[in-house]
């Protein structure tokens, strides 16, 4: 589902964020990506999302090589991926409902169907009664969960999460992880970047470890 082959990324200014990274994640797998701050976790996710292009090496998602994708293909590539961002990226000019419905509107769902799916997603993260509120008034943990609901509302094939438990207490973190596991169980490929080693150990999943841009461990 996700295949990196000797991928390097050099940002403008010459900083090598990742170097020679190769790994492969099969469909339906759940994998953690860990490493120190600045190790290049977010960079890997950005490369998968085509927010950045690899400087060398090749990346294939769902069997499709990313390198030849132009601006016309990128939207359709991104629609099969749900992302939970490191800094949740919620829009404060609209309600929780309108935040979560955005990916559905972009994909072109019928309004009634979309509303049903938004409520299902809100129900999953346990915030069904907050739908009309502005996300600004929610707690950081709740905002994080709204971000998760938005990432999964259109049932993506791949779910990427960048520090999804960064702002959550241990109990909530565990619950979010359970949620990811549920998605994984219905066939979604899940890749979670996190440096919460305790949590990762408890999850007992395959773990990729980055160190200064190089893949040093894959267990």
């Amino acid at each position: 589902m996700i295949a990196f082959e000797q991928v390097s990324k050099e940002y403008q200014g010459g900083y090598k964020a990742i170097q020679d990274v190769s790994f492969s994640i099969s469909p339906g797998e759940m994998v953690f990506l860990t490493g120190h701050s600045g190790a290049g976790k977010s960079t890997v996710l950005k490369l998968i999302m085509l927010m950045e292009r690899a400087s060398s090496g090749s990346i294939a998602i769902g069997g499709k090589n990313l390198a030849p994708m132009g601006s016309g293909d990128i939207p359709f590539h991104r629609r099969q991926i749900g992302v939970v961002f490191q800094n949740h990226q919620l829009l404060f000019d609209r309600s929780v409902f309108d935040n979560i419905v955005l990916p559905l509107r972009i994909c072109g769902y019928d309004a009634v169907d979309a509303a049903r799916r938004v409520r299902a997603a809100l129900d999953k993260v346990g915030l069904l009664d907050r739908e009309k509120l502005n996300p600004r008034v929610l707690s950081t943990g709740e905002q994080q969960r709204i971000g998760i609901a938005r990432a999964i509302v259109h049932k993506p094939k791949i779910l990427l999460a960048d520090e999804p438990t960064g702002n959550l207490d241990p109990q909530l973190s565990a619950e979010v992880m359970t949620l990811f596991q549920q998605f994984n169980r219905i066939g979604t490929t899940v890749l979670v970047a996190s440096h919460d080693l305790n949590l990762i150990r408890r999850m007992n999943c395959r773990t990729l470890t980055l160190q200064q841009g190089r893949l040093v461990d894959d267990v």
Partner: protein
Amino acid sequence: MSDFRASSAHPKRGAEQHVLTKQDQRRHWFQHHGEVAKDCLRQWLSAPTATLMTILVLAVALALPSFLFTSLANITRLTASWDDENKISLYLHTDLSQSQIESFSQRLLLRADLIAVDLVDAEQGLLEFKQYSGFSDVLDSLQQNPLPAVISVLAKDTGEQSLEKLQQQLYALPQVEQAVLDLQWIKRLNAMLLVLQRAIIALSLLLACAVLLIIGNTIRLNVESRRDEILVAKLMGATNAWVRRPFLYTGIFYGVTASIAAWLIIEMSLIVMQNPVLQLSLLYQSNFKLIGLGGIGGLLLLLVGLSLGLLAAFISVNKFLNQLEPK
């Protein structure tokens, strides 16, 4: 948190991957256009003064060239009635008798280089002059008709040189006192109008650029204020067309409303000018009336406004979208 757990009991609910048919997509396309248009309207209504000011500035920029073009069209229409540039007036000697004049005019008719010969005899000329000049009392007190008979001829060849040659030839005839190629000045006027037209075109282009810049800048600010929304939407797989759509609507709105306002400005100034112009033209025995933009002109103005708005919006949004392309 209880419902959070409860939901795990049926994880499959709503989990079916949604597949969109072509029909769905078309319906969605229309639906999105509708939403976007409504959204646009809501935005303008939320800042009515700012929107109105921008529209007025745009309207003035659009009205000025349109107004000048309309004026030019009116002037051209006025001079078009004097389009016989190949006309030569022959003033005959006053001592010729009526029959001599007539036979002379008959002979002119036979010339191959003339296409029309029109005799205005002295009596007729006097009548017309009395009627239009207001000097009838003075003229009545004269013993003799002071006016010569005039023959207007139209030359076949309209070339400037051949016209002058013909004028010389006719002038050399013994019956002719004077031969005047009287429409030389119309040529000059037409040449001047042409220069004026070019100047107006240049000015119009400048003002079109101004309209582009004003709308483009308004849209750019609009884009900046919705930056986060665009970034997030792009990451969720929004196409550039989807992102662009609301801004294109805004651009079209500005273009079209400004065109309509410009049209109103022009029509209103023409209405204000109509009466004085009518009085002036009455003084010249003409029933010249000002003509406004008309249907085609109005449509053209609307189209120009619309395309400028669309173009400006397109450029502004694309500049922003291009920055978001992955590197």
